[in-house]
């Protein structure tokens, strides 16, 4: 990372350095943050409005250039906001924001202002959103280039790129927004684009249905997200993450001065507790930091939440009209975090809202790589990391996050063991890896979760693009049992996918190892610190999940590339290596997958200096135990996979298997069957009942037709009074005037 930054440093600082003041450069980049999302938006508009006018080549070029321009600008802005004192105190959000980094923050204007609550159009780039923006635009650019090859034969070429650019735009809004409401706009935007792209081939009913499934699952989560925003707004009166930039000027550090909204009687307690002065219009993170610093130990904590300092009664604050008496800030934060986590579950395909992601593979493969592996599904992790100060405040929610993440990690890995569709395997693998990210976030290692997001984006995009290359070569065939022996015919795809598989399997020193190992180390350290059984179980889950991951990855490689080719002759004749526009992104991603983890692991974690990375995890003791466990799991799984599927190729037939465990895994633990029969069935009956009683009887018969008939009858009767004679109307007017005159004179 350093040499890249140094190069950019030299370029950026040297050229304008003798023209303008360096602080003006920062201001310039803050002003121009909007360019990052603007570029894909322009691409979308061009491709969307002129999709019949521009040629296929131009359409792909415009989209890719838009993504690349966005990437370049993100690099420049990222450089401008990078931190200078990475080892500064963790957790004290705006304190270290002032000292160690200089985030770019620009409020472009007010979106809406409702008196007590106002929401701005503002963009914010710090380390976190900078890293995410780089991943999104960087991987996004590669996938745009790849798509130009992959979609070359598709008739709706421009529409595809328009959607892809719209997705990039929405994702960048999600990432760069400086408040939760604007983030929600991006959140919904990526959901929409996901829906549009999953159902991209909408002539196929199944694919269109997969799009709708994704949309509906996301809606469930989004409702939680929205309620979470409402809760936070009700409790704090703001949805901004941080204070607006102009409010930052008034800091003086360190200060002992109680903030008026959180200290009931400031005069009595002023001397006792250390309080940090709040900025004029604090954001959510500022509030959380303030609360944390002024917490007192003997607080009465309601409902079992360890909410230090959050025992302030909400009926004394802005939320008095919303919250029942006795609710505390800590409880409100816990509630909001839990609700927001439901949204994250929907977007990031965690249990129990994971079922849409495997179906989302109906979309074009580059879409699966970009949206359903690298970027959109990590939005939930990003949101958690963005609000880490709030999550750290509520340990119960953190436990929920960890449990959901760990369970999803092993659950999806187990399903992945028996899938035969190459993309389905990768989809369950994505769900599983997202589970690891949430597990990491749940134990407080937000930086590691983001690190895993980055590495996962690299190698999972690589694997998806590789599988896309395979599918492209196999004329659309996705079943691994009909592949085999492709390593000779697709050498580049083969080698890059092997690298991706090694990274996913967690083999040293590929990218996946570094992030997964660090997350597991933190889980282990947490288990050792807390001595809670649940964390030991989660660690066990994570290790078994790692074993399964390595196994199914080896299985995927073995079934696809080794043994004899099992395809039909017709398909066989057609197998060819993909064009350069597809292989070049593969190679770039493969290189990054090799070196990315090693290259980034120290820098990025210390750079993303937030969250509570367990000090215990640095303990040699913990490190060695964890190293042995993870390596045993990875190499064991990989070895078993190689034994079964590479050295002698075994073609699985899971649907005919008598083994109940295989059946359970192949049928996805019957959870989707439950969704299909139970939930959908219930709602079908409910909807049918509503249709009969409300729609047919009440609305159609009584309201619509009834009112219609009534009006018609009345009109027919009153029609007779319309003689058409002006004089009669004039008489009416005058008699009415007389009546009014009479009434007025009488009164």
């Amino acid at each position: 990372m350093d040499f890249l930054i140094d190069i950019i440093d030299t370029c950026v600082k040297w050229i304008p350095g003798w023209i303008v003041n360096p602080s003006h450069i920062r201001a310039f980049y803050a002003e121009s943050l909007f360019i990052i999302p603007l570029m894909p938006l322009l691409g979308f508009l061009i491709n969307g409005f002129f999709r019949d006018k521009i040629s296929r080549g131009a359409s792909g070029l415009v989209a890719s250039l838009a993504a690349f321009a966005s990437f370049l600008w993100a690099v420049l802005c990222f450089h401008a906001c990078r931190g200078h004192l990475p080892e500064f105190d963790h957790g004290a959000g705006y304190l270290h924001r002032m000292l160690s980094t200089e985030p770019l923050h620009k409020v472009y204007g007010t979106w809406f202002d409702t008196g007590t609550f106002s929401c701005a159009f503002g963009l914010y780039m710090d380390q976190l959103s900078g890293v995410m923006a780089l991943v999104v635009t960087g991987v996004g650019t590669l996938i745009h280039v790849y798509s130009m090859g992959y979609m070359a034969h598709d008739k709706a070429f421009a529409r595809y790129f328009a959607y892809l650019n719209l997705f990039l735009f929405s994702m960048l809004v999600l990432i760069l927004a400086d408040n939760l409401v604007l983030t929600f706009v991006g959140w919904e935007g990526v959901g929409l684009c996901s829906y549009l792209l999953i159902g991209f081939w909408y002539e196929d009913g199944e694919k269109a249905a997969a799009g709708m499934k994704a949309f509906i699952f996301n809606r469930v989560g989004d409702l939680g997200f929205l309620l979470g925003i409402f809760t936070l707004v009700a409790a704090f009166g703001t949805a901004n993450y941080y204070a607006a930039p102009h409010a930052l000027g008034s800091y003086t550090l360190p200060v002992v001065a109680p903030h008026k909204s959180f200290v009931k009687d400031s005069s009595k307690e002023e001397g006792k507790r250390e309080v940090v002065m709040m900025p004029d219009a604090p954001g959510l993170i500022d509030y959380a930091d303030g609360l944390k610093l002024m917490g007192n130990a003997d607080a009465k904590v309601p409902l079992g939440y360890k909410a230090d300092g959050g025992n302030f009664d909400l009926s004394k604050t802005a939320g008095a009209k919303v919250f029942p008496a006795g609710w505390t800030v800590g409880f409100a934060i816990s509630l909001a975090c839990l609700l927001l986590f439901i949204g994250a579950c929907g977007k990031s395909a965690q249990l129990p809202l994971y079922a849409w992601l495997p179906d989302a593979m109906a979309g074009p493969t580059p879409v699966s790589a970009l949206i359903h592996a690298a970027t959109m599904v990590t939005a939930g992790v990003y949101m958690l990391a963005r609000l880490h100060a709030l999550y750290l405040f509520s340990s119960a929610t953190m436990d929920v996050v960890a449990i959901v993440g760990g369970t999803t990690a092993i659950f999806a890995a187990l399903i992945g063991l028996t899938q035969t569709d190459i993309k389905k395997v990768l989809a369950y693998s994505t769900v599983s890896q997202l589970g690891y990210m949430f597990l990491g976030a749940g134990v407080g290692a937000f930086a590691l979760a983001i690190f895993h997001v980055v590495t996962h984006a690299l190698f999972k995009a690589l694997l998806f693009l590789g599988s896309g290359s395979v599918i492209h070569a196999m004329s659309g065939e996705q079943d691994m049992r009909k592949m085999g022996g492709l390593r000779k015919k697709l050498p580049i795809t083969f080698w890059t996918m092997v690298i991706g598989a090694l990274a996913l399997g967690g083999i040293v020193p590929f990218a996946g190892y570094w992030s997964k190992d660090a997350i597991l180390a933190n889980v282990l350290a947490k288990a050792m610190e807390t001595h809670e059984t649940s964390y030991w179980v989660l660690y066990l889950f994570a290790c078994v999940g790692a074993f399964c991951t390595a196994f199914y990855t080896a299985r995927l490689i073995g079934l696809t590339f080794f043994g004899e080719c099992r395809a039909s002759d017709e398909v066989k004749a057609h197998i060819h290596e993909s064009p350069p526009s597809m292989t070049v992104p593969l190679i770039v991603l493969a290189v990054l997958s090799v070196i990315g983890g090693w290259w980034l692991h120290n820098d990025l974690i210390s750079f993303l200096n937030f969250g509570e990375i367990s000090q215990n995890a640095e303990n040699e003791h913990v490190e060695w135990i964890n190293l042995i466990c993870t390596l045993a799991a990875s190499f064991g799984g990989a070895g078993l996979g190689i034994l079964l599927y590479i050295s002698k190729v075994f073609v699985p037939k899971p649907e005919e298997s008598k083994n109940p465990l295989v059946r359970l895994s192949f049928n996805k633990f019957y959870i989707e069957a439950f969704y299909d029969r139970g939930v959908t069935g219930f709602f079908s009956i409910f909807a049918e009942a509503l249709h009969l009683f409300v729609d047919v009887l009440l609305i159609d018969f009584l309201l619509v037709n009834g009112v219609g008939k009534l009006v018609r009858g009345l009109g027919g009767a009153l029609r007779k009074t319309q003689t058409g004679l002006i004089n009669v109307y004039a008489t009416g007017i005058l008699v009415g005037a007389l009546a009014i005159l009479f009434y007025l004179l009488k009164g």
């Binding site: 004089n727 008489t731 008699v735 009479f742 004179l745």
Partner: protein, 187 residues
């Protein structure tokens, strides 16, 4: 009985009589022609009520323009007397007379009980009447412009009432344009 009362009664009777003639003639040409004595009576009344400028306007605009336009339209339409349908019928006149009577009665009753003799308005009216005998020859003498002179109308019209004034001018423009468009052939 003062001479001014005589003039008032005569002009009032002229108005009433010509108004009755206007609404009862079968041929609209007579109606229009009887508008002339009606406006004449109104003009005399306005002069009596110390509104000489208004009287002049009444004569010019009503007698000179509106009346001519009506006459013009009647000529244009050119209904021959035998084509004009008789529109007198008890079915129409009885309710109309009833409504008109009740309306007039109500206003009269209101006027009678609302403004009794010797009330402030009444006294003031008479005071003004006494002044106006001298002011029949316009604005001789007084410092303040007397009621109804051009000065006394123009100043408030362009100060207090300038917005309604402008609105009325817009209304007239719109009405003229509308009339032109409506009356054009092949609308």
């Amino acid at each position: 009985m003062d001479w001014i009362d005589v003039v008032f009664i005569l002009s009032g009777l002229l108005c009433l009589g010509s108004a009755c003639t206007i609404v009862t003639r079968k041929n609209p040409v007579y109606s229009v022609i009887f508008m002339l004595p009606f406006f004449l009576g109104m003009t005399i009344l306005f002069i009596l009520l110390s509104a000489p400028f208004l009287a002049a306007m009444q004569m010019m605009v009503y007698g000179g323009a509106i009346l001519v336009v009506f006459l013009f339209v009647i000529m244009l339409i050119n209904l021959r007397p035998e084509e004009i349908k008789d529109d007198f019928s008890l079915w129409t006149y009885t309710p109309a007379a009833a409504v008109g009577g009740v309306l007039g009665g109500l206003i009269l009753s209101f006027v009678r009980h609302g403004i009794p003799d010797g009330s402030e308005l009444d006294k003031n009216f008479h005071a003004a009447v006494n002044n106006s005998r001298l002011m029949l020859d316009l604005g001789m003498g007084g410092v303040a412009p007397p009621l109804g002179s051009i000065d006394s109308i123009a100043i408030p019209m362009f100060k207090q009432y300038v917005v309604p004034f402008e609105l009325v001018s817009i209304l007239i423009v719109v009405a003229v344009l509308g009339a032109v468009i409506l009356a054009k052939k092949r609308v």
